[in-house]
Every structure is written in structure tokens, then in C-alpha cells.
């Protein structure tokens, strides 16, 4: 059984847990994800399950997308498709649907999303470079400063902090606790923040680094 779901970040709020402690949570709408295609080593060279999420308007979906969905017995073409690689061939069949019930409350999950885009940023914001003094005639406020030495090494080191595009990167947050599951609404309450803006697409999967030890 795989436990990876495609979903959407709804937003953040707070809930009281069993110990009456107010916990910050991110609400994620995860699934239901129909299995659209099963890939096997014999046919495709590797084992994987292709999951779909949400749906596209018929006028927006291409003919290929529509027919791909039709093969899986779906009425509308999913808006998102994503593969989950597996070691061995899956026992799932095309047409099976994975829901938030694949997860348990209290378990660890990894959440993958695309961070908010920040545009072209300087080194102070982008790399947390200290910057110079604001006053006393400094004339060196948020500039990048020296980027290296002289004849030795005679070049700029790799990874030297410089201005450039910041954000809009795929990022994974590991080992987030599932605080609550609301199966009838397909919602997961994950402790803490996750990448991306509200409404952005995310992937939720069982934590690859293992589960919390039982006390």
C-alpha cells in the first residue's frame, strides 16, 4: 500500500490537542487520488503508480489527457498527475482511489511544495548576509562587499552569496506530525508550516525517515 497523496494547501490555523495545548497547524486538502496508471518493469522499465488529483474542465484538457483519463475509467481528466516510484510491483489496480485514510493521526509525513516566489533579491534577504551600518556616513548598506581574495586563490569561491532570483523552489519538509484527519472533507491537519502559498499544490507522503517511537 502506498501512502502518497496529491493535494492543496488550504491555510494555517490553530487547534487544541488532547493536552489542551494550542497547536499551530496547516490544513491540507489531500486526495482523493485515483490510480490512473500502473507502471511495471516489464512494460515501462520501472515500477510506479501514477496518481491523479482534482479535475480539469473538458475544454481545457487535451485529447491525450482526456483519453488517458478515460482508460483509467475517469470522467474528467485530472488537473495533476504524479508518479510514485516503487521497489516492487504494486498491488493496486487502475481505478482504485487513495484517500486521507491512508494516513493515521500522530504519524510523521513529509510535505513537498513549491516555495513562494520572492523575485530578484539582494544578498541580505537571499543569503542573510549582515550588510553594513545604516548611518554614520557608512555608504555601505545592503551591498554584497568583497567576493574573494587576491592572487590566491585568484578566483571567486563557489557558493559565493550574490543577488539573484529567490523562492519558487521545490522544497520538502520532513517529519511533520499529523494532528488530525477529517476523512469526510479529505483534510489533513499537519503540525507547523509547509512551503507555498494558500491554494498551491503539495504532495504529502509517509515520512521516509521513519515514524515516531511509541512512548
Amino acid at each position: 500500500m502506498i501512502s502518497t497523496l496529491l493535494g492543496k494547501k488550504i491555510g494555517m490555523t490553530q487547534v487544541y490537542d488532547a493536552q489542551n495545548v494550542l497547536v499551530p497547524v496547516t490544513v491540507v486538502e489531500a486526495g482523493p487520488c485515483p490510480v490512473v496508471q500502473i507502471k511495471t518493469t516489464q512494460v515501462d522499465g520501472y515500477n510506479a503508480v501514477q496518481l491523479g488529483y482534482s479535475k480539469q474542465k473538458a475544454k481545457n484538457a487535451s485529447k491525450a489527457e482526456k483519453n488517458h483519463a478515460k482508460k483509467a475509467g475517469l470522467e474528467d481528466a485530472p488537473r495533476l498527475l504524479s508518479e510514485v516510484r516503487l521497489e516492487e510491483a504494486s498491488t493496486l489496480k487502475v481505478g482504485d482511489v487513495i484517500t486521507v485514510e491512508a494516513f493515521k493521526e500522530g504519524q510523521f509525513v513529509d510535505v513537498i511544495g513549491v516555495t513562494k516566489g520572492k523575485g530578484f533579491q539582494g544578498v541580505v534577504k537571499r543569503f542573510r548576509v549582515g550588510g553594513g551600518p545604516a548611518t554614520h556616513g557608512s555608504m555601505f548598506h545592503r551591498r554584497i562587499g568583497s567576493i574573494g581574495m587576491r592572487q590566491t586563490p585568484g578566483r571567486t569561491w563557489k557558493n559565493q552569496a550574490m543577488p539573484g532570483h529567490m523562492g519558487s523552489l521545490r522544497r520538502t519538509l520532513q517529519n511533520l506530525t499529523i494532528v488530525k484527519i477529517l476523512p469526510e472533507k479529505n483534510l489533513l491537519l499537519v503540525k507547523g508550516a509547509i512551503p507555498g502559498a494558500n491554494g498551491d499544490d503539495v504532495i504529502v507522503r509517509t515520512a521516509i525517515k521513519g515514524q515516531p517511537k511509541k512512548a
Partner: protein, 125 residues
């Protein structure tokens, strides 16, 4: 359904509906559950509500009191299950929405709230 209404719906079951309608300027006694080891007892914090903040599950209120000549403030989440009950001891009609000016007052004046004139006129009749 908009994202905001989903968030509201999720937290709705933890938002208390039986909280007494106290407001800024009211004198209140807040009964809170305190855990000490295995034992649980009730602690009372009495003072003036000087601020109300937030809404829904995030709503909080600040209570200020003078304890042994020293000003003490505590921020309580309105919807915390640790709050057993809130008693309203006295009410008033303050001129401000937040009574932060009480912080700079000393002695008797520290608990005196400047009230709206209308209210005062009624009181003197």
C-alpha cells in the same frame, strides 16, 4: 468553498459558545485549570480586562491586576479548555478600546478607568 471558510469550519467545534459577554474595562475573575504533577486544581486570576484581540479560535483577552503593588498582566485564550469559567464582577464603559494607559498609572489610579460621559451622567442622577 473558500479556504477561509474551511479554516473556520474546522476550528468551529473548539470555539466556545457559552463564554460570558465581557468587554474591555470589565472586572473579571478567570478560573483556570492548573496541573501540578498528577493533581489538578483551579486557580483564579482577578483583574481588569484591558484588551480583546483576534477572532474565532485565535481570540485572546488581557487581564491586568495590581498584585502586592506590582502590575501583573496575563493573556488568556478565550477558547482554551483550561479556562473553566469567567465571572464578571463589575462593568464599565471605557473611552478607549484598549486600556494600555493603565500601565503607566500608580496606586489607586491604576485601577480607575475613565468612563464615557453619558454613562457618568446616568450614574450621578
Amino acid at each position: 468553498m473558500s479556504t477561509h471558510s474551511i479554516l473556520k469550519e474546522i476550528t468551529a467545534f473548539q470555539v466556545k459558545k457559552d463564554t460570558p459577554a465581557f468587554k474591555v474595562g470589565d472586572g473579571v475573575r478567570v478560573h483556570t485549570k492548573v496541573r501540578e504533577g498528577d493533581k489538578e486544581r483551579t486557580q483564579i486570576f482577578a483583574g481588569i480586562v484591558i484588551a480583546l484581540k483576534g477572532s474565532g479560535i485565535h481570540e485572546t483577552f488581557t487581564v491586568r491586576r495590581i498584585s502586592y503593588g506590582e502590575g501583573v498582566e496575563r493573556v488568556f485564550p478565550v477558547n482554551s479548555p483550561n479556562i473553566e469559567k469567567i465571572e464578571i464582577e463589575r462593568t464599565s464603559e471605557p473611552v478607549r478600546a484598549r486600556l494600555y494607559y493603565l500601565r503607566s498609572r500608580l496606586g489607586k489610579a491604576a485601577m480607575a478607568i475613565k468612563e464615557k460621559r453619558v454613562e457618568k451622567a446616568v450614574a450621578t442622577k
